[in-house]
Each structure stands twice: as structure tokens, then as C-alpha cells.
């Protein structure tokens, strides 16, 4: 089976920290050149690039806010201009603006939808151009189990993540004839800075009880699934949603 990504070029959004960082490192370890997108964490993104290049890989950090489509062309060109092509787009960047719907402001809704759904749609559209020319492409969208289950306090986030699943299937249908697949991953509770800050000890204990495997996931668990979907091994998989959640949902 082919998990070798030599000659492949990937763009990972939100790749300076957490799950995105692990994905960028894993894609690079499998041989891909990686555009490491970040919004604010420049030094963290540079660390990722340095780690990849130290191990003989190719990588480049590019600042862009995914919600702002005027930045998208530069992201795509960072891949095609520097590395000659774009094979793999991992739509990982996402934000939260958690609060109960009764208190949620229009801006909380717009901000989350703009980054987590609208931005992804437009960036994907831009990425499809080089992929169509190559007649090979992989779109991998980071959804969430919250998109499957809903969550109190995350109506905006859940709507965006569920919307992403419908978007994924539509892209899969539209692009299948060009040999471009689109799949989604729904991480469960993964140990990252985001979850470390967002959860009290009590909430963590409550969440842990819902995970049959009895532990939270690591970013590497998500990265492994991403590398698999990005590889030739997943050539007949498209429009699928893979939950990597320790058995939380089992939908």
C-alpha cells in the first residue's frame, strides 16, 4: 500500500499548532512538500517549517486569514509557485466563539461561519484549479464530532462543521470525474492548546466518561488518518466522513 507522498505538495491551513501542526509534520514525514498556513502564530509556524526542513523535507510558512478570500490566491501560489503543484488541501483552520444561542451575537455567528465554512468553500474552489489540471487531488476537511452530535454553547460551530460535511459530499460528486476526492474527518476530544484552555477539569472528566477508549486523542491520531486519506491507498474513498473519536459517536 502506498502511504508515500513523495512528489506531492500539500497546503495545510491552521498548521502552526495543535492538529494542523501534527498533520503538516506527518505529511512532510511521508515525503510531501508542505505549505504551513498560519494566521497569528508566526514563530510557531516557523518552528514547524524548521522541524520539517531539518529532517530533509520541504516546507514554507505563509500567513493568511482563511476568512479573507483575498488571501487565497497567495496561498495557492505558495504551493504551485514554490513547489510546482498542489495535490493535497487540508482545511484544518477553525475558530470557536462559544456561547449559548440566546446570548450569541450576529458577529459570533458570522465569524465562525466565515472561517469554518465560507472561507473553506472559497479556498477549496481556488485549490480545485491546479488539481483539475493535474487530474489528481485530495481535499480533506477537518469537521468535528460536534458537527454530528451538536453541543450546547456551540450552535455556530456545530452548524459550520455539519455544513462542512454536506459541502464535502458535494465537492466529492462534482470533482470525482477529475480524480479529485473529498473526505472529512471528525476528531473527537483531542489534546491541544484549544481544548486545554476551553475545558475545566470537571468538564474534562465528564467528557472522558463518554469516550469508550478511556482517553483523549492526540493530534497524531488525526494526522495518521489524514496521511491515509491523502495517499494513493485511499483512491476509492470519496465523500466519506471518518470519526476519529475513541468511540464517542459511532454514528
Amino acid at each position: 500500500m502506498q502511504l508515500d507522498l513523495t512528489e506531492r505538495v500539500a497546503l495545510v491551513t491552521g498548521a502552526s499548532r495543535g492538529i494542523g501542526r501534527a498533520i503538516a509534520l506527518a505529511l512532510a514525514a511521508s515525503g510531501a512538500a508542505v505549505v504551513v498556513n498560519y494566521r497569528g502564530s508566526e514563530s510557531a509556524a516557523n518552528d514547524v517549517v524548521e522541524q520539517i526542513t531539518q529532517q530533509g523535507g520541504r516546507a514554507l510558512a505563509v500567513q493568511a486569514d482563511i476568512a479573507d478570500e483575498s488571501s487565497h490566491d497567495a496561498l495557492i501560489k505558495a504551493a504551485t509557485g514554490n513547489f510546482g503543484r498542489l495535490d493535497i488541501l487540508v482545511n484544518n483552520a477553525g475558530i470557536t466563539r462559544d456561547t449559548l444561542l440566546l446570548r450569541m451575537k450576529a458577529d459570533d455567528i458570522d465569524a465562525v461561519l466565515n472561517t469554518n465554512l465560507r472561507g473553506i468553500m472559497l479556498l477549496t474552489k481556488a485549490a480545485l484549479r491546479p488539481m483539475t489540471k493535474q487530474r489528481w487531488g485530495r481535499i480533506i476537511n477537518m469537521s468535528s464530532i460536534i458537527g454530528l452530535t451538536g453541543n450546547a454553547g456551540q450552535a455556530n460551530y456545530a452548524a459550520a462543521k455539519a455544513g462542512l460535511l454536506g459541502f464535502t459530499k458535494s465537492v466529492a460528486l462534482e470533482m470525482a470525474s477529475r480524480n479529485i476526492t473529498a473526505n472529512a474527518i471528525c476528531p473527537g476530544f483531542i489534546e491541544t492548546d484549544m481544548t486545554a484552555h476551553a475545558f475545566t477539569d470537571e468538564l474534562r472528566a465528564a467528557a472522558l466518561q463518554r469516550v469508550p477508549l478511556g482517553r483523549f486523542g492526540s493530534p497524531d491520531d488525526i494526522a495518521a488518518t489524514t496521511v491515509f486519506l491523502a495517499s494513493e491507498a485511499a483512491s476509492y474513498i470519496t465523500g466519506q466522513t471518518l470519526a476519529v473519536d475513541g468511540g464517542w459517536t459511532m454514528y
Binding site: 500500500m1 502511504l3 470525474s177 476526492t181 469508550p212 478511556g214 476509492y236 466519506q240 476519529v244 459511532m250
Partner: protein, 248 residues
């Protein structure tokens, strides 16, 4: 990611002579595993595997309609290699008919092999996996329980049962580090297709978004992923390998 290797691991594969099953046996053996290849028919296929991989592949004939067949396969692995890390259920049996015309024999035969047989061998595999606090069970199911299929109500019901059974068992044994997942292939090129109506392949090619049937060796990597340590945080999942046909 950790490379998909299975050195020193022991696997039992049912349907080891089948069009997908024999490729799974070969792929596991190539990556270092010792494999009991359960089979019912086509001993030529498993004997060829044994010739290629000699000590690493042990063909064992077993009829999963027999209540103790699963235990026999597991016991064979344990007595030969003293451990069991991986169980793949890749056996298949169909007896197609519309429900109105389906005989009770057709119903029972498919349920017996596909559901009862799967349950029996999964149960047999639990004890060694629990003792080792590690296990990977992968069931091969299909699109039928997820999307329905004409003339295959028995097959869809049996495989739907396997999916429900697998999720329930996944919850029961997660604490021992045993993960249970399923791979659901769509329309796949296999030997039996030669016997189908000649309109089948053009129909299937046209109806699948990727505009082709899947190849058996396109199903195998997903099985290997779920059988490996790389899938340590996945359990109770079903991955469809179906070219975008149903997307459920």
C-alpha cells in the same frame, strides 16, 4: 505516521480465499504478520498463499455454519503462535432473491454465515485479545445495510447486524484496548462478476461518481489501516470504500 507493519503480530482472516480476503492475507503476511487464513472453498488460492509465504500463512478449512468454526480458527492461531492481535472477517455468502420469493433456507443460510458466524469468531477472539490488552477487529461489510440493495434483504440484514454488533462490542471491550471497525466496500471488481448480467459493469461504471468499479486491492489498505496501531483512536466506525456512490 507509524508505518503499517505487523511484525510479530498474529492475525486470523476469514474468507481467506475470497477475492478481497486473499489479498488481505497476502498484505498482512508481506508486512510481517503470521496469518491463519480461514477458508471454506477454493483451497487452491490459500495453498498458493502458503507457498508464497511458507511459515507465515496457515490455511485452515472451516465452515462458519458450524458453531465452533470461529473457535477452531482462533485456537489454531493460539496453538501455533501463542497470541492473536488481529481478526479480519472477510468471508461472504449470498443467496439473492426478492423478499416475496426468498425461502427461509436462503434467509437462514446468509444470517447463519454472515451474522452468527461473525459473532462466533469475534467472541472467540476476545479472550486472547483481552489478556494482551490489545486487539484489532475489522469486519468487512458492504453498502447493502447502509443504502439497501435489490434482492439482498437477507445480506443487508445480516451485515446491518454485523455493524450493530460491532458497535456494541466496541463499547464492551474498549477498556482492553480492543478496537472494532468495519470497512464497507461498494461495487468492486471480483471474479463473480463474470457470471453477472452483461449490463452490470456498464451500469456500475456509470453510476459511481469515480466512473469505475473499485479494485479489490483498493479495499485492502483501509483494512490494514484499521488493523494497525495507526487506528488506535478509531473504534465503532464504518468506512465506506465505494467511489462516492452512496456517501452514507
Amino acid at each position: 505516521m507509524s508505518a503499517l507493519t505487523f511484525h510479530n503480530q498474529v492475525a486470523v482472516v476469514t474468507g481467506g480465499s475470497g477475492s478481497i480476503g486473499h489479498l488481505i492475507v497476502a498484505a498482512l503476511a508481506e508486512r510481517g504478520a503470521n496469518v491463519v487464513a480461514g477458508y471454506h472453498q477454493h483451497d487452491v488460492v490459500v495453498n498458493a498463499l502458503q507457498k508464497t509465504f511458507s511459515e507465515q500463512v496457515l490455511p485452515v478449512q472451516a465452515d462458519l455454519r458450524e458453531p465452533d468454526a470461529g473457535q477452531l480458527l482462533v485456537d489454531t492461531a493460539l496453538s501455533r503462535w501463542n497470541r492473536l492481535d488481529i481478526l479480519i472477517t472477510a468471508h461472504s455468502m449470498i443467496a439473492n432473491a426478492p423478499v416475496a420469493e426468498m425461502s427461509l433456507e436462503q434467509w437462514h443460510a446468509v444470517l447463519q454465515v454472515m451474522l452468527r458466524g461473525t459473532m462466533g469468531i469475534c467472541r472467540a477472539a476476545l479472550r486472547p485479545m483481552q489478556r494482551a490488552r490489545y486487539g484489532r477487529i475489522v469486519t468487512l461489510t458492504g453498502y447493502q445495510p447502509l443504502a439497501g440493495a435489490l434482492d439482498q434483504a437477507n445480506y443487508a440484514a445480516a451485515l446491518g447486524g454485523v455493524l450493530g454488533f460491532g458497535k456494541a462490542l466496541a463499547r464492551e471491550v474498549a477498556a482492553w484496548g480492543i478496537n472494532i471497525n468495519s470497512v464497507a466496500p461498494g461495487l468492486i471488481e471480483r471474479a463473480q462478476i463474470a457470471a453477472f448480467d452483461p449490463s452490470y459493469v456498464p451500469w456500475a461504471t456509470n453510476i459511481v461518481p469515480l466512473k469505475r468499479l473499485g479494485k479489490p486491492n483498493e479495499v485492502v489498505p483501509t483494512v490494514l489501516l484499521l488493523a494497525s496501531e495507526a487506528a488506535s483512536y478509531m473504534t465503532g466506525q464504518t468506512i465506506m470504500v465505494e467511489g462516492g456512490w452512496r456517501m452514507v
